[in-house]
Symmetry: C3
Amino acid sequence: MLHIIYLIAISAEAGSGALTAMRRKMDVFGVALVGTVTALGGGSVRDMLLGHYPLGWVQHPEYLLFTVGAALAAAAAAQLLQRLKSAFLLLDALGLVAFSIIGCDVAAAAGVHVAVVVLMGMITGTAGGLLRDIVCNQVPLVLRRDLYATVALATGALYMAQLHYGVGRDVATLVALAAGFGLRLAALRMSLALPVPGRGRPGALDAAGGEG
Amino acid sequence: MLHIIYLIAISAEAGSGALTAMRRKMDVFGVALVGTVTALGGGSVRDMLLGHYPLGWVQHPEYLLFTVGAALAAAAAAQLLQRLKSAFLLLDALGLVAFSIIGCDVAAAAGVHVAVVVLMGMITGTAGGLLRDIVCNQVPLVLRRDLYATVALATGALYMAQLHYGVGRDVATLVALAAGFGLRLAALRMSLALPVPGRGRPGALDAAGGEG
Amino acid sequence: MLHIIYLIAISAEAGSGALTAMRRKMDVFGVALVGTVTALGGGSVRDMLLGHYPLGWVQHPEYLLFTVGAALAAAAAAQLLQRLKSAFLLLDALGLVAFSIIGCDVAAAAGVHVAVVVLMGMITGTAGGLLRDIVCNQVPLVLRRDLYATVALATGALYMAQLHYGVGRDVATLVALAAGFGLRLAALRMSLALPVPGRGRPGALDAAGGEG
């Protein structure tokens, strides 16, 4: 089941990358590449941080067909997708949550500390969007937006907690998926957001001393 | 022969990085560093994606002298290089094509699927320029420009196709070099470009739903 | 001793990342993440370039508590830190120098050429700040600022030179720390800077030919 969700997730992420690339007026190659980086970047960053080789798409190049296809389809259907924005956000939320659980599985198999497992889940869920925004030269949305990474973190923590207390993998997956998905939808619908430090004190930081 | 072309290629790429860094008003250190990242970044990204250690410049630190020297020489000769822009573009095109072929060789030796081999060739040819643009905080040219990455992809595909059909390595290298170089020059001269999706429908994407 | 300095260094770097993230109006999660990336990014980049796994924070996840705590503390104390800017710069300078020496130690243990060792020291000292600026979408300060990376390079070179000539590790560490720290403070106080190529010839580069 997680495999099917994975394919849906990389397709949704590839589509989101393609739309961002189009807003930057990239050509079809750029659209396909940014879509692919968005979809597969999270898992690749996780595996490079873990030293876990070969990377997923190196071993399964057929994933690349999926992401390129999804990116080009999203570009072709861009006007339609605007009207389908809600469907798109649902798929994206599913992708975020699924990626987080898959990332936890991979990291747990590598035998690292459970805190690192949950963090790797979050990285799997969010690093693709981070790379997309870096490549498209914009401040990463994931660092500013309504509980996005927080949902990934909470999903992974819930998943690992269930496994720790002996819940079966299938049940744990379903529960974490449902809870993470619900939290993300609630965040979107209610515009939940974490506090932004320093807000309301304009100018307070203009001369602050961040060095290198 | 490919080794000499490699040295020419990293020098040309280091020079292009140096000029970009100068436009950002970086100091000589930044110029040398951006030049080096541009020249050696493509191969480093490829090797890190493949888990292929040690990296080229870790094993052969003398390459660093080459790239730093070329970057500083390009900075010193910046005004001259403007007049020599055509020569510079020729060297850069040679570098792109040579990097792509070298990247295919390295990836093929790692035993990955041929589609990944060609992709790694493209990454070798283009990731240095991508890193240069990320470090210099501009939307990567490689994602927007006249067949740049497409040339890298086509060169690698042609090279691997020849090897697949039993053509000798030397002949395959020469043919792929010549064809890729010719395609890149044709693209530059005739302003060939891939289509940009969504162009002509201004505003269509302003509210589109790319999430993370 | 170096371990204590290391903890001070990652705290100072996490604080600098947090302040940069606040200026970008990121939420508390973004502040914690950018702080962590700034503090641990340099060592992670070094280890990924060396193929040296597991990464430090994967093996010692307790470092993450340190960086998250320091980032949130810096955010909470942002207005205070403005008044303490000098103290902050001192800590940051200490961090830069300590990171460079630690990076040299790790790279030397990996058995690479001494030039690569010194370079890895510099990468350890500066890559965190580079990642911070990339993630926050600004031209990296480290590439433009008063001897920052140069201090890292000089510290590493001095440290390795002492080891080469038989100086004991403790003495070499102290001497390199003191010299690097002094150089950095001198650079800050006297606004020392490397020359910026092309300055004084405005417009000279506007049409220059950097390609990909």
